[in-house]
């Protein structure tokens, strides 16, 4: 019983990081109606960045966070101007295909450089014991950092002028343009932020689990599941849904082989899309903001 409880609590910690990754997808989706299929690659880029910085350059693992954040943000800006800017406002097929093709390039480069070997980041923190079970310190740290980043993002979106511009463009791009908001720059900024969230999520995942160049697909799928659970375009919902998905994983891991997790999550994804297309937040009354 205590084992199940511990598994659930650990699921919540890991789920918070899934939520962080999904906030990146949902932010980009909400602001520009683009599903970012480079998301998985950005997560992997975050993983390898921390591997390179902490492993080869010898920085403390958590000191790499700001570097990963800024690097992924800049990568996101570049990706926006390369692959997304020209297809804004076109049918969704086009942005899907363009981000998909950039993803191929990134995966191809990654496999050419690192092949598909398993990598590890040497992160160790003192854990927290509950009876016979010990929560790894890295999981606690990841969840704590997620909470901090989510809080900063909230303050940015709701307490700053630029954040207000992002929300305005998200609400109605043409109207935002009419009142003098430089929408292209705002879209690029939002894409960069989404990419930064993906990169940091990848960095935090790398401190918890081993990874390969191809790990991105699984985490990207999880991010989609979480995004849909939380309602597309809703960052708070994404964070909560991430925790919910972590709970589901915590609940299933003691009973089901790990390789089945993705199948279960996919079934969940389709069920939610069919039954509750607005996400779990539909279940409670909407707060006006």
């Amino acid at each position: 019983m205590i084992g199940l409880l511990a598994s659930l609590l650990d699921g919540v910690l890991i789920g918070a990081v899934y939520g962080l990754a999904a906030m990146g997808i949902t932010l980009i989706w909400g602001v520009m109606d683009v599903v970012n299929l480079t998301h998985g690659s950005l997560i992997v880029a975050g993983m390898f960045a921390v591997y390179a910085l902490a492993g080869a350059a010898g920085l403390p693992v958590y000191a790499t966070l700001p570097i990963v954040l800024v690097g992924a943000f800049l990568a996101g800006l570049a990706l926006y101007w390369i692959s997304v800017h020209r297809v804004i406002g076109q049918p969704p097929l086009m942005s899907l295909l363009s981000t998909f093709s950039v993803n191929l390039v990134l995966v191809g480069l990654g496999t050419a450089i690192w092949s598909t070997d398993l990598f590890n980041v040497p992160a160790s923190l003192p854990g927290f014991s509950l009876g016979r079970y010990t929560f790894p310190g890295t999981h606690l740290m990841a969840a704590a950092l997620t909470a901090v980043i989510a809080g900063v993002l909230y303050l940015f979106l709701y307490r700053t002028r630029i954040g207000k511009a992002v929300r305005a463009v998200s609400g109605n791009r043409e109207a935002a343009e009419l009142v003098g908001i430089p929408t292209s720059q705002v879209l690029a900024l939002a894409f960069g932020l989404g990419a930064a969230l993906a990169g940091v999520a990848g960095m935090l995942i790398a401190t918890m689990f081993p990874f390969t160049v191809l790990s991105g697909d699984a985490y990207q799928l999880k991010s989609f599941v979480v995004t849909v659970l939380g309602g597309l375009g809703n960052p708070t919902g994404a964070l909560l849904a991430g925790v919910a998905l972590g709970l589901v994983e915590g609940l299933t891991t003691p009973f089901v082989p790990v390789s089945w997790t993705l199948v279960i999550e996919f079934v969940l994804f389709v069920l939610v899309l069919i039954a509750l297309p607005g996400g779990l937040v539909q279940l409670w009354p909407r707060r006006r903001d």
């Binding site: 599903v35 390369i82 692959s83 020209r86 297809v87 049918p91 969704p92 097929l93 086009m94 899907l96 295909l97 363009s98 998909f100 093709s101 950039v102 993803n103 191929l104 390039v105 990134l106 995966v107 191809g108 480069l109 496999t111 050419a112 697909d217 699984a218 799928l221 989609f224 849909v228 082989p257 390789s259 089945w260 997790t261 993705l262 199948v263 996919f266 079934v267 994804f269 389709v270 899309l273 069919i274 297309p277």
Partner: protein, 320 residues
Amino acid sequence: MARRPFFWIIAAVVALFAALPALGNDIELRESLLLAAIYVTLASNINMMLGYAGYVNFGSIVFFGLGGYLCVWLMGSHGWPLAAALAAGGVAVSALALVFGLGILRLRGVYFALATIGVNEGVMAFVSTFQPWGGSSGIYLSPALFQPLGGPARALWIIYYLLVAVMAASLYLSYAVKRSKFGLGLLAIGQNEDAAAVLGVPAPRYKAMVYSLSAFLPAIAGGLYFFKSAFIQPPDAFDLQLSTETIVIAMLGGQGTVVGPAIGAFLYEQLRGWLLTSESFSHFQLVISGVLLLAIVLFAPGGLMGWLYRRWPRLRGILE
């Protein structure tokens, strides 16, 4: 049908495919054309989703892989003859696609595309853990299974001709669908799904139907392909590379046209042969597919056929 020039173009291409390697008994040419036939089959089937209905299916390789698995498994573990195993594989995968399609038919646009990624991951995870199919180590076929076809050498020729037939059937199917009321409905969905629905196109049903239809021939091609290699394993059956190449080919030739995917397959096969032989590029196949696809999406979304049609509008009356 037989009066339209287009029908004769297809017939001539297929005759060429059938005759070329047989004339000189050229094994190398046959292998290269066999791959081209698979490309054409996969690309023209994905084109019915992508080009006609405007729905991108990132998981089309699932049909190919599952068809391969069913065929190999029925022949290896249950002693079915090739024809029966192929037919059963095609029908079963098509039926499964219909079930998936009915499950995800209510999803539109992007949601549908995301669901197809999920189908891909879900099926792969399922097959890698499914013990009757050997889990992650796959299934091997005994060489004795080639005996009923007259020995391995003759069996390979038979498989080649069957694949050419599957390719011809794909082109014909793609043409027949485009000419039909069903195809018109799909094209309308591709233009504007809401308007199509208002005008009485049963969009969800049509989407599920085309999803299932586009599964049938790739499943048979998969069966033939993996029977030929006498071995199947999850990474080969659900190869990301092949799945992407299919989309690249359909876009390169021109989505929504019948000949586009065929021309795209030919061009891509040439390009690929050239890339494989040059040492420095062979590691970067995914990168090159990606750059190519990005360039097409951004600068020439109509593909080669779109360009030809703009250049010579009269071609529209001859080609499809």
